[in-house]
Symmetry: C2
Subunit: 276 residues, 2 copies
């Protein structure tokens, strides 16, 4: 498929769109949705061939909402990618830095650039609905005294000029994205799978996680992620997100998963995939 | 200490302030800081007796920034509490619901009330710097056509009236907070400790986490949380956040921690504490 339609949450120019480019190349056609559940619904209703969702961020942790949606829908993970969150100061063409009085962006982005604002106390921070929308606004209203904080992709998309690159305080800000497709459809991507993501539930007894870990340790399978999440309303049950290195269709991982299934209350394989 | 001064991040009326009340009662004096690192600095500089920080949210996951700050500073966890994130529609006294044309709040709060906006399409969402600040603005400017989304505490603090309670889409939205004090000072709180939080680092070899789990399983110690976090720049090392039930000063937990220390690259006990 040369030009797959790909559902994502956010505005055109959001970091999810950069993830789409990394995962599927420039030919993919992004389909913007307002909410994550709508992303999954568009995919289920065959309005999109694939979907791209953020699953965790190095500063802000896992996106539990998307893990919940992965459990509720018949989708599989086909690939993963990491996007570095780079914030740029952008303005309409011809606006010099010295004229800036205000900077518009999403409050999370503004809060990730506090060193810039500390160094430029005369510039006022103004919250805006999203980063890409702020970039579009400063150029469409031809603001001569205002800039926005946005991604490079949004800058290209909306024709704003980058006045300062990479003004974020912390360069270790990465978001990990998944490429999803319907379980019932042919894979959009193909290739070897190096990692598998699963979600499982065990009762919270001493040693229950130890037993769960044993099925991987006994087969020399490396773990890449583990995270527990308490289940609201079920105080003695825990859900675990686990990534291991290997393809669930190979013998040792398949045996480990069958073994794990013996003492889990629930187990779902979200997909085996590789990084792009 | 009857009126401890407590550093927190955000505005007066933020959910952190509600956590302060739950943890230390109404006598505590909140000290608002703009950033989390400033919260820790105020505590270290003895400008505050204690600090209260969010550590994880049921929808948004762990606050990695605060885990990093816990590792960098000589503080201990003295207590934990959970705050349910309830969003209320608030306006200046006498403003009826039917006159509303705009609702101001932090975009994260606006996005957690999408069902309300879908049911009221004539009301425009307007991003604002924070929820408590939005409540203060609608009353201080005596806006007759605008409301804010804020906590009940902010409503009480700024004298706005609650037009609709609990308009959030998801009632399973809880934030867990820690009460911190300086390791070098006497504890602010006291009482039995039911839970212990630790952070440790192991090399990513098959079975390394299994060995780490064994020190708890062999002593029948229950785990309440485990989460791995890849270390940027050290692709083969992982940091783990782990909570177990028990007091690190008791014999079995103390033995487990000594055992764990034998094969960890680093291990820090953040504190033993109880819930409030």
């Amino acid at each position: 498929m040369k030009q797959p339609k790909v559902a994502f949450q956010g505005e055109l120019g959001a970091f999810s769109q950069q993830a789409i480019q990394q995962l599927l190349g420039p030919g993919a056609r992004p389909l913007a949705c307002q909410r994550f559940d709508q992303v999954f619904e568009q995919l289920a209703a065959k309005k999109a061939h694939a979907a791209v969702i953020p699953i965790e961020n190095t500063l802000h942790g896992s996106v539990h909402e998307n893990y919940d949606l992965l459990l509720q829908h018949d989708v599989r993970i086909e690939a993963e990618t990491n996007v570095r969150i780079v914030h740029n100061l952008v303005a309409a063409p011809g606006v010099p830095f010295r004229d800036l009085k205000e900077v518009y962006s999403h409050p999370v982005a503004l809060n990730q650039c506090l060193n810039f604002f500390a160094a430029n106390p005369a510039i006022r921070r103004v919250p805006y609905y999203d980063t890409a929308g702020a970039a579009r606004m400063v150029v469409s209203e031809n603001r001569r005294d205002a800039a926005a904080i946005s991604s490079q992709l949004a800058a290209e998309l909306y024709g704003v000029r980058i006045l300062k690159r990479s003004i974020e305080d912390d360069r270790r800000n990465f978001t990990r994205f998944f490429l999803l497709s319907r379980t019932s459809s042919r894979p959009v991507a193909s290739g070897p799978a190096e990692k598998t993501s699963i979600v499982f539930t065990v009762r919270n007894q001493p040693g229950s996680l130890f037993r769960a870990m044993s099925v991987f340790a006994l087969r020399d399978i490396s773990l890449a992620k583990i995270e527990s999440r308490p289940l609201r309303g079920k105080p003695w049950e825990y859900r675990f997100y686990l990534d291991f290195l290997g393809d669930a269709r190979e013998q040792a991982p398949a045996n480990a998963l069958r073994h794990l299934g013996e003492f889990c209350d629930s187990l779902k394989v979200l997909g085996s995939y590789s990084a792009r």
